[in-house]
Symmetry: C3
Subunit: 274 residues, 3 copies
């Protein structure tokens, strides 16, 4: 659990991260990458994605507003990144909400073989089962990871990671992440983060940045991203004033990542092996 | 004019709202829905929009950056929502600015039969007449609703609503909204709101959320959304400090919706029947 | 170097600016135009772009997330604007990063004949040479304009502007802009602006607004936009507090443009003829 060097590594490597991501939260994704010390490039036309991926140290595929043009772009970029052994993060936004999302997320999982999958529990269950609960882009209440079902949830996530030889990152009130063997539960973050659109998308991009900076330690990289996002949510919340709401919180979360020092990050990390 | 229960209803129902909306203001639309207590989902590929609409309690169609892919998506989602009797809001952004926008807005009006239409006066005149003034995405000065032409403007809007059996919401310095019979003039809001891109888009989405939460009282729902947006603009303005400009105002408007309590909302509401 | 009247002219003319721009930074582009006193309209479907351009006083073409639909839209809008003698700004985002970007940027340069080209030095070198260094959407370190190579850099930019009969605006630590004869170096701005996604895109849009307001003095218009963006970055930085990061900075830059008075702008301008 020594991951205190990963954030400094992102800042010194300043990895270029290729994002094919939804247009809802893309600006925050770009700014959070810059906040962490990485550099974003967004490009989603099938004709150029392979060249862009080749320039980059990591790739983030987010199906939040997938369409007939971006699906082949994600597939092409993902296959090329895999062939080049570049780290790839898949964010299966809304898998389970439509057949197109479920099928696309599964096609990407099987064809691209992402280094990491980052989603909520319902999305990851849908990826695993091919069908699942859906409550739009949120996890269904029935699926939620709780203190009561933590061991069973960890088993499920561990099995998923082992089967797909990836890092699985399942976020919610308690975050779980595993390489199929070691599994961590992270209890950072705040419930209010779900009132800001795109904190999950931001975490996926940060995971890609961390993997791009330290590709040889993927679990530590993913753990850093999860803790970073959670601690940023806590620090940002402590900076909220009277009359501030979710829009101010949005700004303050990215600011907290920009201002994060690794000592603060490690001191506030709430990580347990499960 | 008892509409004090609508905002609490949005917060308790937390309706999922499907938005097919422009990429300029989509992040604010998502965050304002979250601020009000609703939940956004954006999806615009024709292959999935019917399934997404089916998951949702309301639909918002905004033609701000319409294109050859999203026009059929809006039509398909709209028809499906209509068949399922789900509330639909149409925001005819820029109708009158191009033949494509005018034709698309009118096609959606006639084919989808939206529950509510929310636009500026020039856009609604264009919808009504098939042609109109345009000053880009703003209302033409010649069309503006003023104290002097209020009665005539109200007659026009009432006739439009009656003909299309919808709630018509025409916003500007004075907002007018009607179900074809009862017509309200709302004098909340501030002129400075037009310096923030997308406050109209946000209002359309809030209208969809209110209709989704309380579909049986569409006029009260639309009135709540109009007053909520206007009062938020006033509260946000009162929180502006030295050096703050339209970007800070943008954040503070959404924050004001997030922090709004219904007592404050009702106390500040400036609603008159006309 | 008397350009103190340009900002007031933007505010009094309130020019409508048609933007075909990337979806990453489009919201900031819209809000920065409003902050400066201009009015944005975004429209990128080939079927409507000529009509929209015709409504507008200026056009901004930004290839940041170009695709198979928007490339012909940019070409059509650009040709139409050229035929109507409307000012056009080309922002060749990421030229050099893929063949598609390089080819599109060059096609637009030769076919549309933009009034101004605004990019980083690597992008403009790629436009000039047809090939170039690329570090994603950032300038390659090898290309950077420095005090040491200032004269040679100015010669290159001047030759580019002369050949293409345009205003060339090359931004970086030192900004250079020229009409092919007079060349200015501007030393406003802060390095931290590169931690906010889209400050370049915002500058391109502001350049289009200034050209639209005062088309007869294109070099003064471009100079105003460059100084305005730089001074805004300085003022915004002076308003940063403890815990503020790149997201707060983003908001404060646009706010500084919104609150800018021309006296302040002229007093802080760091312009030198080179």
């Amino acid at each position: 659990m020594a991951f205190n060097d990963i954030l400094p590594s992102i800042r010194s490597a300043a990895p270029l991260v290729h994002c094919i991501t939804n247009y809802v939260t893309v600006n925050d994704v770009a700014n959070v990458l810059l906040a962490a010390g990485a550099r974003p490039i967004m490009a989603d036309d099938p004709e150029e994605v392979e060249e862009i991926t080749e320039l980059c140290a990591g790739l983030c595929l987010n199906i939040g507003t997938l369409n007939a043009r971006t699906i082949p772009a994600m597939m092409a970029a993902g296959r090329h990144a895999h062939a080049l052994a570049r780290p790839i993060v898949l964010d299966p936004v809304g898998a389970g909400a439509s057949r197109l999302r479920t099928a696309t997320a599964r096609d990407l999982l099987y064809e691209v073989k992402p280094t990491a999958v980052r989603g909520n529990i319902s999305e990851v269950r849908t990826l695993a089962m091919g069908t699942g609960h859906s409550d739009g882009v949120d996890a269904a209440a029935a699926d939620a990871v709780t203190e009561e079902n933590l061991a069973a949830s960890a088993s499920f996530v561990r099995a998923f990671a082992a089967e797909h030889r990836c890092i699985a990152v399942v976020t919610g009130a308690i975050d779980l992440l595993t390489d199929g063997e070691t599994c961590y539960a992270v209890r950072n973050g705040r419930a209010e983060m779900s009132r800001v659109t795109g904190t999950g998308c931001q975490l996926s991009a940060l995971t890609a940045a961390a993997l791009a900076a330290v590709p040889v330690r993927p679990l530590d990289a993913a753990l850093t991203a999860v803790v970073l996002m959670g601690v940023a949510g806590e620090i940002a919340w402590s900076r909220m004033g009277a009359g501030d709401g979710n829009a101010a919180y949005r700004t303050k979360i990215i600011d907290a990542i920009c201002c994060m020092d690794e000592e603060m990050l490690m001191r506030r990390a709430q990580v347990e092996q499960v």
